[in-house]
Structure formats: C-alpha cells, structure tokens
Amino acid sequence: MILRCGPMAIDVDTDLPEVVAALEVYYGPDAILSKRDFADFFVELRRPAGLRRWYRPQVIFALDGEQLFKPLPRDQAMQAFEWGLNWIIEHHCHQYLIVHAAVIEKGGHAILMPGQPGSGKSTLAAAMTNRGWRLLSDEIALISMADGALSALARPISLKNESIPVLRRFVPDAIIGCEARDTVKGTVALMRAPLDSIARIAQTARASWIIFPRYLNGLPVEIRRRSRASTLMSIIEHSFNYSIHGKAGFERLADVIEACDCYDFSYADLNEAVEVFDALKPPS
C-alpha cells in the first residue's frame, strides 16, 4: 500500500494486519492509496524470520531492505513505524530545514515550539489542536529551504506516561490507542490528529511566534520574551540538519525568526496554557 504522509508517498510493505488497520485510523482513510508509479520511500514493517517470529514476537522496520534499528516487540509495531518514519525524514528530506518542534496554526499564524523529547511540546500540541488550533506536526517541523513556509504532516501525536491520562480527560472523545508499556520511553500511546488538521495537510503556514515550552508542575503559567539571537542558537541545537545547509540554512532560519516574536513558556495546567496561546497577538 501507499501511505500519503504530508507531501510524501511512502510505500509500506507489511505482514501485520493491526498495522494496516492502525495506519488507516491514524492517518485517515484518504491517506491510504493503492500502489502507484512513484513512492518517495519504500519501507517494510515485518516479523523477523526465525524464533522471534513466534516467541516473544518482534517487528523489524526497514528502509529499502536495510534494517534501521533493533527489532521491537510486536505490540510496539506502530511506534516502530513512527520512529522509523522520523528517522527517514531526518536523514533524507533535506529540501527542508528540519527542527525538533511542534507546529500549530490558527488564523494564518503558526507557532513553532522547539523542544527535546520530554519538554511537553507534544502534550501541548495535542491540547491546542483540540481547542481550535490546527496541527501541522507534534515533533518534526519542516521549514521549506526555498521559501521558509512550514509544511504539514498531521501525523499521530505521540504521548508518553502521565500525559496519556491527562489528554484523555482534556479531550474525552479523542482517539488514543496503540498504547505500549515498557518501551524505552516508558508507556507510550498515539493520538490521532483532528480530522480537520488531516484534511488540511496540503496547506502550508508561516510562523509568527516561536515558543519554547516547559512543563513545570505546580507553578503558575508564565510567558516571557526572549531574544531572537538566543532563539536562533537554541533552534540550531534542536535542528537535525541545520549544519548540512551551511550559509543558506543560517539565512533561512534567520529570516523565519525575524518574522516572529520569541518566548519562553512554562505551564502546569493545560487550560491556562490555552488561554495564553489564544491571547497571543501577531508581531507588528
């Protein structure tokens, strides 16, 4: 089958019926296409040959026949798929400047939220996207090198540990599944992006704010301006392929930042966070 993922077509070869079903749920039925002439990447998600096919069954993720990482337990098959897809994007999609960041958008203005895993950006993105914001991505921001526009992927949002029950309460009718315990990141689950976000994948966006989020339990919500210069340096740290682009990467990133107001943001309560984000004014 072919999976349409943002601007890419992924040929997915799998012998796992639960993966086929999950892809349709989490990417939307319109994302599943029949085989066609061209695919950007050819991936396999399969059970290994030999013992681990049956005993404590595993899955292998491969790109063009080459295994990308160690096998994972079969009940983490969708996680394997998502991590594999992240790897592929980070290593091969150099038409973009790629940043570890969530991207949400409302009224034509997008927020870029850089952060390492565990910073709370995925949780925040998951919450915002169910309170009127469109989701472009929860983890990987794609900035076009040609014109600085942000591309949308609207892939499933990965939630970890405590954020899973928190989001279940915050968005009672959210589709949250593929829960797997004892992974390297603890308990993980996937939340489907809202159908509206998935439907608008083809729409790019422009960043108006860059906000560095941090979850700080028990403290009141706080948002503080930070300098553009320090923002550039931090984004470089969160970027996978900035160094590959050389001077063009510097100029492109600087242009994006110049058009934004930049903030540090800490929160404990999602409702307070929503209020702050809703009150943001576009840069003059």
Partner: protein
Amino acid sequence: MTRWRKAGDAELSWRYWDGEAVVYNDASGDTHHLDALAAEVLERLCTHAADVEEVSQAIANAYGLDPDDDLNAAVAGSVERFLKFGLIEPIPT
C-alpha cells in the same frame, strides 16, 4: 602589541537583533552568538586591523565610555575567543 584582522578564510554572514548579533562563518560551518560588545569588536576588526587598545579606545569614543581596565579586559577576552574559533588572525610582524 599584536594587531588583529579577520581570518583569511573566514566568510561571515551577520544578523543584528536587539543589541545582539549572530554570525555564521562559512569556512568552519560554525554559528556564533555575540553580545553587543563582542559584536562591536569583531565588526571593527573585520573592517580595519587593530590591536586591543585601539579597539577599546574606538568603542569608548563611540559610546562615550571610559576606556578603563574593565573595557580593555572585555575586549581582550573577545579577541581570545575569536582567535580560538578561527574568526580572526594575528598580523605577522
């Protein structure tokens, strides 16, 4: 006193924002974050070769400051870092 100038192979791109600067050096691939003073020092050395005292004096004049030991030390510290990162080089005597 050693006189300093921009390193021969350094190719610099600048952005100034709110009293700070970021500089990209195409030769090394490094990106640098400079505060207001460091930015002044590097910019001056890129335009004219000078020694630490001359740069201090020029900055003091431009901003109505005292060319005191603190200023000299700050300028000298910047020069040391720029040399380490391959942004400037000493002029051979």
